[in-house]
């Protein structure tokens, strides 16, 4: 071709450096895993019993948070101030829709799941429209959608007896030996989305848009479409989590999703993802969810007063943030 080819070979090292202790210590998910272990072992140490059962119960319950959290993680990672405040409302509405369809029978499990997820997808689509097309700030756009869903749920739930399918209920609590089946599902889902985020072109685009939307645009993607897709995904995941949670608790109820609104954001950040976008860590999210789930239990068994429980939770969030290294600062 040209003179370039006659240039002496430059040695090129392509392979990533091997997994070293140093790289593990510096991994953004590490604080969440350490925190998780510390909390878990502390519970065991204080109680003096039930070490294995504590973690399996924690993992089952954390799985709902993992599922909504993954959607939230995609929204946050895609940047531009992305945050989805509608997840809690989506969860409750989807729970009612699915339970109405399942109506305590096992025959309609699939339809119930699909309808629950589709409701979330539609809600996410509306958020995406408000944010990407109308230009509303995500915080306000998703909140407005949430208000709408809340009203729909209030009115609609009056005419519904929401009882979940018993088989689905059993599935969420089934254990094989010490291993909780639903917890395994949570791990599988987390691995799946970690692969999507880190090993597929779509995931790369999510992170790229979150770092530099304009650069991603010149690199051949459509930032607004990618961002919109994250809201849709988040809606769908929240819907799925809502259906599972309803199944776990036997049926739908108002206020089912309430505690997930801010918790889903907190676990994303605890897990080492950047709140400003561009870097999502699904493994950290999983650990963060277990950590947060077990944290209240730790607080409960230490019998601290509720005031101290709040203070410790808040201080922990600020502390983990302050200690984490943020390569690019702030929003």
């Amino acid at each position: 071709m040209t003179a370039l080819d006659t240039r002496p070979e430059t040695p090129v090292r392509i392979r990533k450096p091997a997994l070293t202790v140093r790289s593990i210590v510096r991994h953004p998910a590490t604080p969440a895993f350490i925190g998780m272990l510390v909390v878990w072992l502390s519970i065991g140490a204080i109680a003096g019993r039930g070490l294995i059962d504590t973690i399996s119960a924690g993992i089952i319950i954390a799985t709902f948070l993992v599922i909504v959290g993954i959607g939230q993680l995609f929204v946050i990672t895609v940047g531009n101030g992305g945050i989805d405040l509608s997840v809690s409302y989506v969860m409750t509405l989807s729970a009612f829709l699915a339970c109405q369809i399942m109506a305590g029978q096992d025959s309609n499990i699939v339809l119930g799941l699909v309808v629950g997820v589709v409701a979330g997808v539609v809600a996410g689509g509306v958020s995406a429209f408000l944010i990407e097309f109308i230009g509303m700030p995500p915080l306000v756009g998703t909140l407005a959608v949430g208000f709408g869903l809340q009203t729909i749920t209030l009115i609609y739930s009056g005419s519904v007896v929401g009882v979940a399918s018993p088989a689905l209920s059993d599935f969420t609590t089934m254990q094989i030996g010490p291993i909780p089946v639903f917890g395994v599902v949570g791990v599988v889902v987390a691995v799946l989305f970690a692969v999507i985020l880190k090993r597929t072109p779509y995931g790369r685009r999510i992170e790229a848009v979150g770092q530099k939307p304009v650069a991603a645009g010149f690199g051949g993607t459509r930032p607004s479409l990618i961002r919109a897709s994250a809201y849709v995904l988040s809606g769908g995941m929240a819907g799925l989590a809502g259906v599972f949670l309803a199944a776990y608790s036997g049926g739908a109820s108002l206020g089912l999703g309430t505690s997930y609104q801010l918790a889903s954001i907190a676990v994303v950040v605890l897990g080492g993802s950047l709140i400003a976008g561009g870097r999502g860590i699904v493994s950290g999210l999983w650990a963060g969810a277990v950590l947060l789930t077990l944290l209240t239990t730790l607080a409960n068994i230490t019998r601290l007063s509720s005031g101290w429980q709040f203070i410790i939770q808040g201080a922990l969030i600020v502390l983990v943030l302050a200690l984490s290294r943020n390569p690019i600062a702030r929003r």
């Binding site: 109308i134 509303m136 607004s224 950040v269 007063s305 709040f310 808040g314 943030l321 929003r331």
Partner: protein, 331 residues
């Protein structure tokens, strides 16, 4: 040779109505008109509203909210968001109802420490480059926890002097109108007519530029946060005087309402883009909305959706006005 006219084309790539939001119409005008319009409708429906008693009744509960919106406005001016303002106001309320009546010095000291907490957050956010949204979320748990430690269940009694101060009114001009007017004028004068107010707005818009002009950006951020804390305390003061007792959860709804108020009031998350008149008007709009829906007879179940809808409408209206201005300018 003819000179062709170069007109502005829509900005290439990644542009949306978002860019138009807040820029051309990021001012106090539209929210003020909206506040007046809502008020006019209420008067038309119930002429009693326009009387001195009526004004006191309708506006008094809005004063703490307006102060909360102003607090949020200072944080938004810094380019940040405060998710902790609700718990902070709740703590202020508890301190004023429980500590102040028995221990004046200790209470005042505690309030000062709370202000210092806001300064500390500013330093942490500025120096460590942390996301304000999560720091303030974490701190919201800390404020709530302290409040519950001081006052495990709602109660306490605010000093009668404070109650009469807050309830002060004149026979002709309602006290609430006086307070609102004085506050608005003072804050507007400070932000727009004093040099440091201008520097503060500038620091939110282009911190580097302000730094180069010889100003301390850290000090500006701390000032904005301390101002936010101060208005949070004022909000707590009015809540305490109006209610006479303490309740840690009293202002939990102010977090989202204050953000909505700032945005409706023409503020923008890009920082530096705030207006005191707009924020007060935005607070009034958000606060009167509930009363208006109630007067019109919107069913209680529909109120959440109606609020969400109005938020969307105001922002869409602003986007369209900005868009029309833009189109007109290119003609």
């Amino acid at each position: 040779m003819t000179t062709s006219t170069v007109t502005r084309s829509p900005r290439p790539l990644g542009s949306s109505m978002r860019d138009r939001l807040g820029s051309a119409f990021g001012s106090w005008f539209l929210p003020s008109v909206a506040a007046v319009a809502i008020f006019a409708i209420m008067v038309a429906l119930r002429p009693l509203v326009a009387s001195t008693t009526g004004l006191n009744l309708v506006l008094a509960p809005l004063i703490p909210l307006v102060f909360a919106v102003l607090a949020q406005m200072f944080v938004v001016a810094a380019g940040d968001i405060d998710l902790g303002i609700g718990s902070f106001i709740g703590l202020a309320n508890v301190v004023m109802a429980v500590v102040l009546p028995t221990d004046l010095v200790g209470g005042l000291l505690l309030l000062l420490v709370m202000l210092a907490g806001y300064a500390g957050m500013a330093v942490l956010i500025s120096v460590r480059g942390l996301p304000s949204i999560v720091v303030t979320l974490g701190m919201s748990f800390v404020w709530l926890g302290i409040a519950i430690l001081i006052l495990p269940t709602p109660g306490g009694a605010v000093a009668p002097e404070l109650v009469s101060f807050v309830r002060f009114t004149t026979p002709v001009v309602p006290g609430v109108v006086i307070v609102l007017t004085i506050t608005t004028v003072l804050v507007a004068l400070f932000l727009n007519r004093t040099k440091y107010g201008t520097v503060l707005r500038g620091s939110g818009s282009n911190a580097e530029g302000v730094r180069r002009a010889g100003w301390s950006v850290l000090r500006a951020k701390v000032s904005l946060y301390v101002l936010a804390g101060f208005f949070g305390l004022l909000s707590g003061l009015y809540l305490s005087g109006q209610t006479g007792g303490g309740d840690p959860y009293i202002a939990s709804s102010y977090v989202l309402l204050s953000i909505a108020g700032v945005i409706v009031g023409g503020g923008s998350f890009r920082g530096g883009e705030v207006s005191a008149v707009g924020a007060v008007a935005g607070g009034l709009v958000v606060g009167l909305l509930g009363a208006l829906l109630q007067f019109i007879g919107v069913q209680s179940s529909f109120q959440a959706a109606a609020q969400g809808l109005v938020l969307v409408l105001v922002l869409v209206l602003r986007a369209s006005v900005a868009w029309i201005q833009k189109v007109r300018r290119t003609r």
